[in-house]
Amino acid sequence: MNFKTWTIARRCVQLAMIALLASPLTGLSIFSGNLAAADLLGLPLADPLAFLQVLLGSRVLVWSYLVSALAVVGFYFLLGGRSFCGWVCPVGLFTELADRLRKRLGTGQTTLPLRFNRWALALVLVVAALTSVPLFEVLSPIGMVGRAIAFGSLLPLLLVSVIVLCEVVVAQRVWCRSLCPLGGLYALVGRFSPLRVGFRPERCTHCNDCLQVCPVQEVLLPSLEKGALQVTAGDCTRCMACQEVCPAKALTINAGYHS
């Protein structure tokens, strides 16, 4: 039986990411850097948002840096949605676990609109262009977690713990859903991906189990309410939790564009 295969796979990838961040400490040379910029098996990879901030802030274009940022954009375009958030981001792992706690405690029932992260993204880019300060690289909890693992700089983790705390107490996945500018960028990239979560209205029994597990319920609503054949692509984290719980197998993996 298909028992949470996707969640197990996802946890493995998330933990492997943390292991990769820690791997230089053991003397292994398969990975260096962190999620802002890295070298994986000799392949240079770069966070496209960090690239944009550097480009706007320092007004220097390094071609190899552009190529490695485009490689990452291409990768997440193919996977679609915010698959970075659901599979790779270490902060996403922490806030997911915090969200379980939140559900158990029954706190933080409010939700903030998703579109706030577009504004956060715009703010970061404007600040970078006007002041040359790479705002998200300064405040990024993802960078802080990466440096805490690779260099043991633990004090900045205070900000990460504030974020995790807010996710438990204030509102559902408030940082990840609504405030993270990197999530906002990947949502823009992922909405054009041909790889999507499909919906078969004829199978759906409207039990709403999928809504219970989905971290971004907004993406399921057009399908559940109006019978859209695909789940909204951009903000879906590709966690596949909806497919795992759906008793009617109404949610599928889908390629191409259907409305």
Binding site: S68, V133, P134, S153, V170
Partner: protein, 220 residues
Amino acid sequence: MDDSSADSAISRRLFLKGSALSALVLALGGAAVSAVYLRSAQARDFYLRPPGALDEKRFLAACVKCGKCAQACPYRSIVMAGGEAGVGIGTPHIIARETPCYLCSDLPCVKACPSGALDKGLQEIEKITMGTAVIVDREGCLSIRGLRCEVCYRQCPLIDKAITIEPRHNVRTGEHTIMEPVIHKDKCVGCGICEKVCVREKSVIVVQKRVEKQEDFYEF
């Protein structure tokens, strides 16, 4: 009665949630604003950056804090700044008194930098411009006091270029020579080895912000 108290309890909960949420937004907004305006990494102290670093403002704009330069450094000279660096949080720097830059001829830190914060145009260690060594405590310098120390001179990777020994008569004893180490700022790359090896408890020679050469016509 009961109903109205239940109502007020709910609205109080909503109020608390609302205020907690605004606290989050305020905290994030405050952190963002302070990160922009408290440029302590620039304003406060001098940070000795790895070889090839752009000038400080552009360096802070271009560095993505990935730590690859620090991981590439074979001597672990490069350390990542913590929150005390303000907007420079997570940026690489060198604490010369602990571990200076040993000027690897292949510059692995510069090669590792993905974003251009360390300029790949830098090929030779003689062209590095990290800072300039300055004798900040002349009374503390054993060589200037007339003893035969000269450790900074001997250990300088650019010996007889960046640091030379200028002998002069020791007026105090009347019969000895003072072997004074003199730093030539157009040759000194700022690696910090002199700062590391100074035998005094507190180094009398430290790397400071590089002073650009002044163009002038006072030649004779």
